[in-house]
Amino acid sequence: MVTQISEGLKAEVKDLNFYYTHHQALKNIHLQIAEKKITALIGPSGCGKTTYLRCFNRMHDLYPGNRYEGEIILFPDQLNIISPKIDPIEVRMRISMVFQKPNPFPKTVFENVAYGLRVRGESRRSLVEDKVEKALKQAALWEEVKDRVQDLAFNLSGGQQQRLCIARALATDPEILLFDEPTSALDPTATSKIEELIMQLKKEVTIIIVTHNMQQAARVSDYTAFMYLGEIIEFDKTDKVFTHPSKKLTEDYITGRFG
């Protein structure tokens, strides 16, 4: 039994199963993703959060033997993004990802942010410059780097690098932005900056964030899904999950009794 949400939907996951060759990592997942809201995925390490997130941009297609079953319907055009008939590149054009560790390319700040535009064949200089600037502003990094966009990205601090990665993911105007524990490698100050940023961003883009930090989920998200052993145990509005969880397992997890 999974709660149905009443707002506008950006995506709907139906009966999703996922296999790493023979190991089934996701089981019968049903979930609705509200448009321009933040959905958090929590659960103990190894429960399948990353696996689930990477279904949304077909990252699993990069490795042999991986197999999806079921549907992830993307609205408004009702595209089943995990259908083998759909080109993964088409999906990744619409759904971007920010990884766990900051991972800028060994290129300049500018070229990092421009990467997604370049692979789309965008070569009009002024347009690229505008979009890079806009993305850096959206990622709250512009003020800090505007005088050194031609510097190598490695010269930025860890938190700045992660915001750079967010800018890079935003530059191509994605419809959904995926975050996989984006602050796990950062210190508390950098973390709170990123959390603030994520809350700002939901005005413009639908966000799914994996976190093993429950306070973070409680602070930033509108909806929370609790996963355990590859299944969704509970999904509801974040307040509800954290104040009145309907499952014993959820309660045990959020009160820190395991995980």
Binding site: N57, M59, L62, P64, P88, I89, R92, M93, S96, M97, F99, K101, N103, F105, P106, Y115, G116, R118, V119, R120, L152, F154, C165, R168, A169, T172
Partner: protein
């Protein structure tokens, strides 16, 4: 107590052996360099580099062998680099571990271990005779290309292997195609490694003799096209010494060869350092 003592003795013996190994290597190197440069440097006047050899090399300079060395090396590198880099990219990015990739890898490993004279024989039979290219810059260059191909494949593969997986994932996650990922996220990072492979190959090409005599000949006539036969510096050195034409000129050629290798390595190192500094 006893085991401590034993460890101490082992440690000291190992240290001494390592020092002996290192020092003898350096000593041999210095001895060779010293001998050749002592005999050869006095010969190196400017005219030695700007004149063609006269009367079999007894007099004159080594202009034609210098041109031969450069021409063959350039042909070999131009042919082998794209092939080698392409093969390495194919093996690393376009195939999973499969029968094809195993066959290619087995082939290149074997090629790497084949003595150069075998390449010479192959080049002679295939390029010189069968394809009717005769003894020529082209036959010699292609033979050298076959010889250095495994080195370039291997160093490129190692360079690609060392690139963090995250660069690939990011590139794909931003909508990159495989080709874009290879050309924008992988090759730029593999460039220093590829470059190292090319430098090793240049060194091997410059120093090769047997395979070149069989495929490019040993002509001292100024070449006019890729189909002209040619003599390289190493071959010149070999013939001068072996046929007792002029030990003096042989040492001069040897010294010039050493200077050329040093020159190429210095330039290459400089370029590489600049590239690396520019990127990090």
């Amino acid at each position: 107590m006893r085991s401590n003592r034993l460890r101490y003795v082992t440690q000291s013996v190992a240290k001494i052996l390592i020092w002996i190994a290192a020092l003898s290597t350096i000593a041999v190197m210095i001895l060779i360099l010293f001998q050749i440069l002592r005999e050869g440097l006095p010969i190196l006047r400017l005219s030695f580099f700007t004149q063609s050899p006269k009367s079999m090399g007894r007099e004159g300079g080594i202009l034609t062998p210098i041109i031969g060395t450069v021409a063959l090396t350039v042909v070999a590198i131009i042919v082998a680099t794209p092939l080698g880099v392409g093969t390495a990219v194919f093996l690393r990015e376009y195939t999973r571990e499969s029968r094809i990739s195993r066959v290619i890898r087995f082939g290149t490993d074997c090629l790497a271990g084949v003595p150069s004279i075998i390449f010479g024989l192959f080049g002679f039979v295939f390029f010189v005779i069968y394809l009717n290219m005769g003894w020529s810059i082209l036959s010699g260059g292609l033979t050298l290309a076959a010889m250095i191909l495994p080195t370039i494949i291997c160093t490129t593969e190692e360079a690609i292997k060392a690139i963090p997986y995250s660069f690939r994932e990011v590139s794909y996650s931003l909508g990159g195609t495989k080709w874009q990922t290879v050309t924008r996220a992988i090759l730029p990072n593999a460039l220093p490694g590829i470059f190292t492979g090319i430098i090793l190959s240049v060194g091997r090409s410059i120093g090769e003799t047997a395979a070149i005599i069989l495929t490019a000949g040993s002509s001292l006539v100024m070449p006019t096209s890729l189909f002209s036969p040619i003599r390289t510096m190493a071959v010149h050195f070999y013939i001068l010494a072996r046929e007792g034409i002029s030990m003096e000129m042989a040492y001069g050629t040897g010294a010039a060869l050493i200077l050329l290798v040093l020159f190429v390595n210095t330039i290459a190192n400089g370029l590489l350092n600049r590239y690396i500094r520019h990127r990090s």
